[in-house]
Subunit: 323 residues, 2 copies
């Protein structure tokens, strides 16, 4: 079942993306931007901007330029993150630094960020400074989150609090920023957006813990590939929670399980320990906790009814009703 | 002999840079920014922003936040260009990707660009949109210039017009943008900045041709290292002009001279051909042409006297009185 307003917004956003007007030359600067923007996706962030706008009573189409700014920024982060992570594939197609080269991915990404700001400023003069401030604060926090992610990948001891703060910066603040930017376009007072922050950051955290959970346990129910994170040796909420709740002997056992060479064997041994520690249940409880926080914040927001309903529906899609 | 106003502005800018307030954490994100900003330099671009402001009758200190925005942006381009050019050294010290690593240079550069925008918006609300637009247009053109520079490095046939357009984008527009941003802070109408454009772009082109000239011929007069561009096999205004004016036989001779393995021999053979073609005289005439264009544009700008005088002085420093 889909939500009519979400569907309508998504159609508008795809149309707007396909009409983005990039110069023809230099081809090596603009072709990669056209390419990555055409790869598709759920377009959650630009949709959130439109919802934020309608939530405050303005027609959502008023925030289309800012929705483009946010989607350009998001894809800029993907282009640069793929370089940093040496990722070869995105949405089943070669990443920009593979299809072109590293320098082109670097420079096209830079240009995308500037283009994001250009779209952002397509607004009433009176709000351009607020939008610039909100957008920049969000962008710098996303950079901080990515740096922490790289730092933690080679750091021996990472606490679950550090992991959640990294996720908040890397993922949640952009969801929140998207809604807030839309809200300001819609007429909200930029100083009164705390509830939106609480709502969107809770959604972001719930989404990430759920994502970690599904990567490990989702396969059983949905036939999804199971254990990708375990195979990559990636520390997730599940790993960090296990290390936090396990006794010394089990901690050693978990480390040893992660060191098993054969992937299938590694996954089954790690999952067995997770289950013994009831990490699956703890993860579901954590998702539920954040979902409740998100719902409570949303309930307090006095907003346009259809937009609120669409937001609730979107949260269910992102986090899942069952938890 | 120095200019008092320039000296005063430079002192203010250095003080402002040393007071830039970067967060402590993540260290790997902010330490490289502190590092590259502390490497020094002539700070021509932020000084131009202050001069632009005073030119329109406002106290130059009003444009200090925008001067910081421009210097942060300029250093962001240096950080990323050093990655793209695999440059190991900047101002006799290791570049960021050498001192840290490529990923850190990439991400710190991204963060610097966002910080540049944050400083830019530290202005009256009524001009934030104009500043954002001017700054973004400048930034995207600098990206285009860098892309053309990379494209031309591996392209067999580059015309002198293409080279000059690349230089205009890569260098001249940021000089122009700096002055214009300062001018808008000082109260100029953003739509009436054509003369500043003409002035600053002519200065940028004169500066680059002069720089190419000095690299080849400067050594004789100033004891500077001679022929670095020739040793690197870099195409400059001198090379392209030679190819444009030479007959077929001399063109072949020039290509052969560039293919000589031994560096000293290569430099002396290329220089001999340049001189035979009187490329040194043509370069000096070209610099003179742009200098005149710059002077004519500046003469037409109705601006505050001390700022105009300081600008004239700065142009002399950049391009040199002798030409």
């Amino acid at each position: 079942m889909t939500n009519a307003l979400y569907g309508e917004m998504l159609t508008k956003i795809e149309a707007q993306i396909s009409h983005l007007d990039f110069p023809e030359s230099p081809k090596n600067l603009y072709d990669p931007i056209r390419y990555i923007m055409s790869l598709g996706g759920k377009r959650v962030r630009p949709v959130l901007a439109l919802m934020g706008c309608q939530l405050y009573g303005a027609p959502y189409s008023k925030a289309l330029p800012q929705a483009m700014a946010i989607e350009l920024f998001h894809n800029f982060t993907l282009m640069h993150d793929d370089v940093m992570d040496s990722a070869d594939v995105r949405r089943a197609l070669p990443t920009v630094h593979i299809k072109w080269n590293h320098n082109i991915a670097l420079l096209s990404g830079d240009a995308m960020m500037v283009m994001a700001y250009r779209h952002l400023f397509n607004c009433e003069t009176s709000i351009s400074q607020s939008l610039g401030g909100l957008f920049s604060k969000t962008a710098i926090e996303v950079c901080e989150g990515q740096q922490l992610d790289m730092d933690y990948a080679i750091q021996a001891d990472v606490t679950i609090e550090q992991y959640l703060e990294m996720i908040r910066l890397k993922t949640a603040v952009l969801l929140s920023g998207s809604l807030k930017i839309g809200a300001v376009v819609g007429g909200a007072d930029p100083k009164k957006l705390d509830l939106i922050d609480q709502f969107a950051e809770a959604v972001g955290l719930a989404f990430q813990v759920k994502d970690d959970f599904l990567d490990a346990f989702g396969g059983e129910e949905f036939g999804k590939a199971t254990g990708g994170d375990i195979i990559e040796g990636k520390r997730t909420w599940l790993t960090l929670k296990s290390l936090a709740v396990a006794d010394a002997k089990t901690r050693v056992e978990l480390m040893e399980a992660f060191d098993v060479k054969e992937p299938t064997e590694r996954v089954s041994r790690v999952l067995a320990i997770y289950k013994r520690l009831r990490i699956d249940e703890l993860a579901e409880a954590e998702v539920k906790k954040y979902s409740m926080q998100a719902k409570e914040a949303l309930d307090q927001i006095q907003g346009e009814a259809r937009a609120k309903e669409a937001l609730e529906w979107l949260v269910d899609q992102l986090i899942g009703r069952r938890t």
